[in-house]
């Protein structure tokens, strides 16, 4: 791809980007949110038309005017949110759109054979007749890869493939990629997890503000260089110094014997968080960490147990009850749970506290705009105005709008669920700084994160969760990755 340009209203998303991939190579594409990675890949996959520039395949200029054209050229795309039909089985999904037929009827046996063949080539075993909605994320991903291979893809684009995988699943994925590489399949690999790049990438290209900044062999790209190129400035440390919790700090959040029947049952959870303290919840995906914070925030109704804020017992039957008591949840999936994407920055920011903006029964828009602009300034939300539709913002800026929504209230307890998932390096640093600021104002923070360094770097205490229960507690000084993983995986007694 060379000289690619793409303009959206008010934004030049790509400004002459050039990029190439060789057969049997994994080429990593990195950059902050909004750098243009997704746009570039959507153009390659035919999901968006380019305004200028050209794409060549095997030295011949090609036109990609739709997803079908990309597919026929051997380009496979695996988005972060998969493109599977959730109610269809693995076989049906793999052959979707290229079903073998006998006359006007589908040839089910041939479909099963083709799918089984594609999976056998990969040495993977999947429950073939189960609807894909009931597969794990890793299994869904394998289904997507099989789908690409059945279509003879020679170039596979993967967007954040490891974001929701456990370490073991990530290892399996990398092994599979290595195998396909040996067969000559090329990969474009988009990731925010810089630490995994040395393991998987051959070359790395950094994008920033819609331009190609540099392409280098992965071996010649230490992480510090990478971060510097991505943000355009040196970043001395990922994590800010957490202000220490003062000895006399009062307990703000007190959870006792909490149980709930969410997607992972929570049993008998008890812990306290003091003013100015961050308690990290570590554990594997599916351990029940999210379910614990959801129960505290009233997103799921607890079946038993007590929650107290500032020593006052509260009854939480709904999110509204929790919010009234000063407990707010920054959910893990901002698009599905945190934002109304079709609404403006202003409307999202004030949504939870609209009553505060009412005057004579009507919403005072001027006051709303003033409050929103203040948050835009304080959180450095990059948006043309408070009236911009949130859908058009980048991931990191969307996350900041979710934060803005809760900062305009008088919350005492902040429950952060995966606060930096899908957020770039610069955005992460800003979110950490904001958490530190909340601590200084006396807030109590509970943080769920799948990134171990983040939990260890940003918590005063770490609680390890497995099977919906708290299994261990470590002070910051004692918490080592080895100890936490041992408890999280059940390796320790």
């Amino acid at each position: 791809m060379s000289g690619i340009v793409k303009t959206f209203p008010g934004v030049r998303a790509l400004d002459g980007v050039s990029f190439d991939v060789e057969a049997g190579e994994v080429h990593a594409l990195v950059g902050e949110n909004g750098a243009g990675k997704s746009t570039l890949m959507k153009i390659l996959a035919g999901a968006l038309p380019a305004d200028a520039g050209e794409i060549a395949l095997d030295g011949r200029t090609v036109r990609i005017d739709g997803p079908k054209a990309a597919e026929q050229l051997g380009i496979g795309m695996i988005y972060q949110e998969f493109n599977l039909v959730p109610d269809l089985g693995v076989i049906e999904n793999i052959v979707l759109g290229v079903e073998p037929r006998r006359g006007i009827f589908l040839d089910r046996r041939a479909a099963a054979d083709e799918a089984a063949h594609a999976l056998a080539e990969l040495d993977i075993v999947l429950p073939l007749d189960r609807p894909t909605r009931r597969l794990t994320v890793a299994q869904q991903q394998l289904t997507e890869i099989a789908k690409c291979l059945l279509r003879q893809a020679r170039l596979i684009v993967m967007d954040e493939p490891t974001a929701a995988l456990t370490d073991r699943e990530t290892d399996a994925l990398f092994a599979l990629i290595a195998k396909l590489k040996a067969q000559g399949v090329a990969f474009v690999y988009i990731s925010h997890r810089l630490e995994e790049l040395p393991r998987i990438a051959d070359r790395i290209t950094v994008l920033r503000d819609g331009r190609t900044i540099e392409t280098r062999a992965a071996a010649a790209m230490p992480e510090a260089d990478l971060i510097r190129l991505m943000v355009g400035r040196p970043l001395d440390s990922h994590y800010p110094d957490l202000p220490p919790v003062s000895d006399g700090a009062a307990v703000v959040l007190d959870v006792r014997a909490l149980s709930a029947d969410g997607s992972v049952p929570v049993r008998d959870v008890a812990f306290g968080v003091r003013a100015g303290e961050v308690v990290g919840l570590a554990g594997l995906v599916g351990a029940g960490r999210t379910d614990i914070v959801r129960a505290i925030a009233g997103a799921d109704v607890p079946s038993s147990g007590e929650v107290a804020v500032d020593g006052k017992r509260i009854v939480v039957r709904s999110p509204a009850d929790a919010i009234r008591a000063g407990i707010v949840l920054i959910p893990e999936d901002r698009k599905a749970q945190g934002l109304v994407l079709g609404m403006s920055v202003r409307e999202n920011t004030t949504l939870a506290h609209l009553a505060d903006f009412e005057r004579n029964g009507l919403v005072d828009r001027r006051a709303e705009t003033a409050a929103t602009n203040q948050e835009i300034g304080e959180l450095h939300i990059r948006t043309p105005s408070s009236e911009q539709t949130v859908r058009n913002l980048s991931g990191g800026n969307q996350q900041k709008v979710v934060l803005a929504k809760w900062l305009i209230g008088r919350a005492r307890v902040f429950l952060f669920d995966e606060p930096t998932r899908g957020v770039d390096v610069g955005g992460k640093a800003e979110i950490y700084a904001l958490m530190a600021e909340l601590l200084r104002q006396g807030a109590a923070i509970v943080m769920v994160s799948s990134e171990l360094p983040e939990v260890l770097g940003m918590s005063h205490r770490v609680l390890v969760v497995r099977g919906g229960m708290i299994r261990a507690e470590f002070a910051r000084a004692d918490a080592t990755p080895q100890k936490v993983i041992a408890v999280a995986t059940g390796a320790a007694a």
Binding site: I323, A336, G342
Partner: protein
């Protein structure tokens, strides 16, 4: 220093954006107005001057009142990504109930009117509440619950009226509303205007209206923001039922009789007005002003075709095509804006 500068740029950018938006919307209004005037003059010429008469225009407005009022309520439901199929039957049953209640009262006119009004609105609101219950409690699709109510309410209308229209024994309390006018404007049109303006303000300017839009855009996010989504949704169906009942009362007053058949098929008419008015069936987006113009467009079209002596079968075809065209145009406009 640096902070002031940031603030200044922010404000500068914001006011730039608003000024630009204002210019653009002004331009759009001007284009609309110009197109509208040309269209009206053309139609007037086509109908040999019959269209642009005070009598005919008043007539158009009176003809759209029932549909417009129903469509206002339906707009709220559709914004939450729901649908209310029961409104036509609610028109029927509330008209019948209104006539029966009015006939059973022996009071002075104003009392009869007020009691009847509350009876009709009560029937509509209750129907809406019953519609909403299985939707918010069991998560049933509104298509089904309101389809059931459409059958039940129609059946009730026939049972209560013994299958016959119920004529008013004394139409005096309702004559002003049925056929009267204030300064040349029919009271029915005034009622429509009041309803449309009141609900436009509720949707556009109150917290409740914002919650309805948020709920339609992303129900889970709205719930996690502390909004009582069940209550918000229930009220939406109560509003729709209430609007339909008011429309039923208007029809009853106009004919001095409550007919069990009245309102048959109206649910689709009013959904058409809402959709033509730019409200998304996917939820999260819509406006009362749009709905009013949707109802007006359909009304004007019917009127013009009548003036041109186009037979009613052909009228149906034209109306169907116009509904489709309006939605296609809206979709194209959205795509253009999204680019």
């Amino acid at each position: 220093m640096a902070e002031t500068k940031v603030q200044a740029t922010l404000e500068g950018r914001a006011s730039d954006a608003t000024a630009q938006a204002r210019r653009r919307s002004l331009l759009r209004v001007a284009a609309f107005a110009a197109g509208f005037i040309v269209l009206v003059l053309a139609v007037n010429a086509l109908t040999h001057g019959d269209f642009l008469t005070e009598r005919n225009l008043t007539n158009v407005l009176r003809q759209i009142t029932v549909n417009a009022i129903m469509a206002v309520g339906q707009t709220f439901v559709i914004i939450t990504a729901g649908i209310d199929l029961s409104v036509g039957s609610i028109v029927g049953v509330s008209g019948v109930v209104a006539a029966i209640v009015a006939n059973s009262l022996h009071m002075s006119s104003p009392f009869v009117f007020v009691v009847t009004l509350f009876a009709a609105l009560g029937v509509g609101a209750l129907s809406g509440y019953v519609n909403a219950l299985p939707v918010v409690r069991l998560n049933l699709p509104p298509f089904i619950t309101t389809l059931a109510m459409m059958q039940v309410a129609r059946g009730l209308a026939y049972i209560l009226s013994h299958g016959q229209p119920v004529p008013l024994q004394n139409s005096a309390p309702f004559d002003w509303l049925g056929t009267g006018a204030f300064a040349g404007i029919p009271y029915q049109v005034i009622v429509m205007a009041v309803v449309a303006i009141a609900f436009a303000v509720i949707l556009g300017r109150t917290a409740y209206g914002r919650y309805v839009l948020a709920l339609g855009g992303n129900e889970e996010a709205a719930r996690l923001a502390g909004i009582d989504t069940r209550r918000t949704k229930t009220i939406v169906y109560v509003i729709s039922g209430g609007c339909a009942a008011l429309a039923g009362l208007l029809l009853m007053a106009r004919f001095a009789s409550g007919s069990p058949q009245s309102g048959t098929g109206y649910e689709l008419q009013c959904i058409a007005a809402v959709v033509v008015g730019g409200t998304s069936l996917m939820g999260g987006r819509g406006s009362i002003v749009g709905t009013f113009f949707g109802a007006l467009l359909i009304g004007v079209l019917n009127n013009v075709m009548n003036l041109l002596n186009i037979e009613s079968y052909t009228q149906q075809i034209v109306l169907g095509i116009v509904i489709l065209l309006a939605v296609i145009l809206d979709e194209l406009r959205k795509r253009y804006l999204a680019r």
